[in-house]
Amino acid sequence: MGSTPTVTTRYFQAGAFHVNVPAKEQNMGTPKMNMLTKAALIGLVLTTAACTRPDRFGGANDGAADGAGAFDPNAAANANLGGANDPKSPLYFNQTIGDRVLFAVDTSTLTEQGKQILVGQAGWLQSNPEYLAIIEGHADEVGTREYNIGLGFRRANAVREFLVSQGVPSTRLRVTSYGKERPIEICSDETCYSKNRRAVTVISIASLS
């Protein structure tokens, strides 16, 4: 916690400390830093999260700890994802259809390969109307932070527009961007960068009904 360091300033004439009349005296302000206790801070976070988290499509996903975490394809087997052999399962979407498309440096243009994957995504989404999707745009580390967030939005939106053009209702899709904040590969060369420049379609299990 620590008490607040406060400083007052006093000017004095040369050689006359004991008789000085302060030419200027001021309260130096109070740079308070009353740190919350850990418990209080966590409480604040939980409260805020509960208030501000977009309902992640209907609130059926309230247990999700962090954004797309529950649907992170990198996360270990998650019961919600269903079986890999069940064509109606999000795991099937992630693994067999393909949940992501990749982009060239500083572009948001879909490649032919990307479009093929998205045709599959659109088909799956139309066959499974109870699911919604959040499209997350990402960038590689070669770029400034704010610009990369903007670039990630462009990529996510390119995917959204393609899915809509394939007949997926836009109301079932949302976009977000993590910029360069969530790389999946961590080396600093093109083999990693090419995998990080991606848009990932994250299936939400929230029901529309």
């Binding site: 360091p5 000017y11 400390f17 740190m35 400034t144 903007g150 670039l151 959204r160 904040e181 080396c187």
Partner: protein
């Protein structure tokens, strides 16, 4: 002498030289390299037993602050002829001249309970006279570093004629963990890395905190919801709230206006990102750019009349300036490569930026018409400069290459000299330098 000072001013690209009052203390330049001004600071007198440790520590801090600027050089105590053991003792100028000390700082420290009083005087050795009057700071013992910084700020100010920057704080993002699972939390510290305190936990990604002009609040971007949103945090209470933006819109890259009443930021709608401005009191907002390109990283001019920002409307990231109310911007960056994260200097004459060119990142400055571009640093990834309160120094983030890459904070003089790491334990990024504390 004045001529020499003017040469120095030019070398440092300072807009409004006010050094004429600085007296005979001088810093000489040879071939554009500044010869640091030698100063001596004998350990401040401990006026009572309780003050011994604080007096010693505080004296070292004053020396570190001054020497750390690169403008001053400390004459080691091993060279001293006079001991100057008492604050009241007359200064033996000849003894200090003999070891080529130009500035002499003496001080005294008293501790009573939790109360600390620091007095100091500054002497111009070669003129044989005191420079400015004595100055006294009083406060609590745990605030001893602030008082040391204030002594150093006063010395710096008297000799350079500019404001100092030592009694200031920096808000930044403290980082830990591997690159693909990095934990980030807001933290605040003194400009020199001391007194680190966390402002949030690491439950969500947080980015690019920005101090308010008075240092009482911080704007930052949080991914708590899975979507980027702007939060505003009260530094004293650590209470925070989300800035209101329309449903379906995602906001990031906020910065305060110079009176702290407004926020400029980027808002993404679909794939398009533009710059908006909101009044913190009324909540009223207006759109400042309307282009299909990415407009982001806005920063007000000190007088609040203009905004510098980055846009890729030309096909790559470049810097633009527009009126604070929006309207047609004019491009100011025309060099090779890409330019981002512009920040207007406190003096108003320069814009600091991040530049990407030929696979390298640089921190640089240019005048607000785009002329006199100078790159100050180069590395695998340097990004996001922030100005010291006096406009003399830039702090920024440097990230190292590879799977084990980490972020750290660095500072560099706007002359390009004095590049050095800011000592922070653990990873650190996205610094925002707050004001000189009152």
């Amino acid at each position: 002498m004045l001529k020499r000072l003017i040469v120095l001013m030019t070398a440092l690209v300072l807009a409004a030289p006010v050094w004429a009052q600085s007296g005979p203390l001088r810093i000489t330049i040879t071939d554009g390299v500044i010869e640091p001004l030698p100063f001596a600071v004998p350990s401040f007198e401990a006026e009572n037993g309780e003050a011994v440790q604080v007096a010693a520590d505080l004296t070292r801090l004053v020396a570190q602050d001054l020497a750390g600027t690169g403008l001053f050089r400390e004459v080691p105590s091993s060279a001293f002829i006079s001991t100057q053991s008492s604050f009241a003792q007359p200064v033996a100028y000849a003894d200090w001249k003999a070891i080529n000390t130009q500035a002499l700082i003496t001080g005294a420290v008293t501790v009573s309970g939790n109360q600390l009083v620091v007095k100091f005087r500054l002497y111009d050795v070669f003129s044989g006279a005191e420079m400015g009057g004595g100055l006294q700071f009083a406060g609590t013992v745990d605030g001893w570093r602030r008082m040391g910084h204030k002594v150093a700020d006063a010395v710096y100010g008297r000799i350079t004629g500019e404001g100092g920057y030592f009694d200031s704080r920096v808000v930044f993002v403290a980082e830990s963990g591997p690159k693909d699972n990095r934990a980030k939390r807001l933290a605040v510290m003194d400009y020199d890395g001391a007194n680190l305190k966390y402002l949030t936990d690491s439950g969500a990604i947080v980015l690019a905190p920005r101090f308010s002009p008075s240092g009482d609040r911080v704007l930052y971007t949080s991914f708590e919801s899975g979507f980027p949103r702007i939060n505003i945090l009260d530094v004293a209470s650590v209470g925070r709230r989300q800035l209101t933006t329309a449903e379906g819109e995602m906001a990031f890259s906020p910065r305060f206006s110079n009176d702290g009443s407004q926020v400029i930021y980027s808002l993404a709608n679909g794939g398009n990102t533009d710059i908006y401005r909101s009044d913190l009191n009324s909540g009223a907002s207006s759109r400042l750019t309307e282009a299909p390109s990415i407009e982001t990283a806005p920063s007000f001019s000190p007088d609040g009349s203009q905004i510098v920002f980055e846009s890729d409307r030309s096909g790559s990231q470049q810097l633009y300036i527009m009126s604070a109310g929006g309207g047609e911007p004019r491009r100011i960056s025309f060099g090779e490569g890409r330019y981002g994260t512009p920040v207007w200097s406190p003096r108003g004459d320069l814009v600091a930026f991040t530049k990407q060119n030929a696979g390298r990142f640089h921190i640089g400055v240019m005048r607000t018409d785009g002329s006199e571009e100078r790159l100050l640093t180069t590395s695998f990834l340097d990004e996001g400069p922030t100005w010291s309160p006096n406009g003399r120094v830039l702090m920024f983030m440097r990230e190292t290459q590879g799977a084990g890459g980490t972020s750290s904070l660095w500072s560099v003089d706007i002359s390009g000299r004095n590049l050095k790491a800011v000592p922070v334990s653990g990873g650190a990024s996205d610094p925002s330098w707050g004001p000189l504390q009152p």
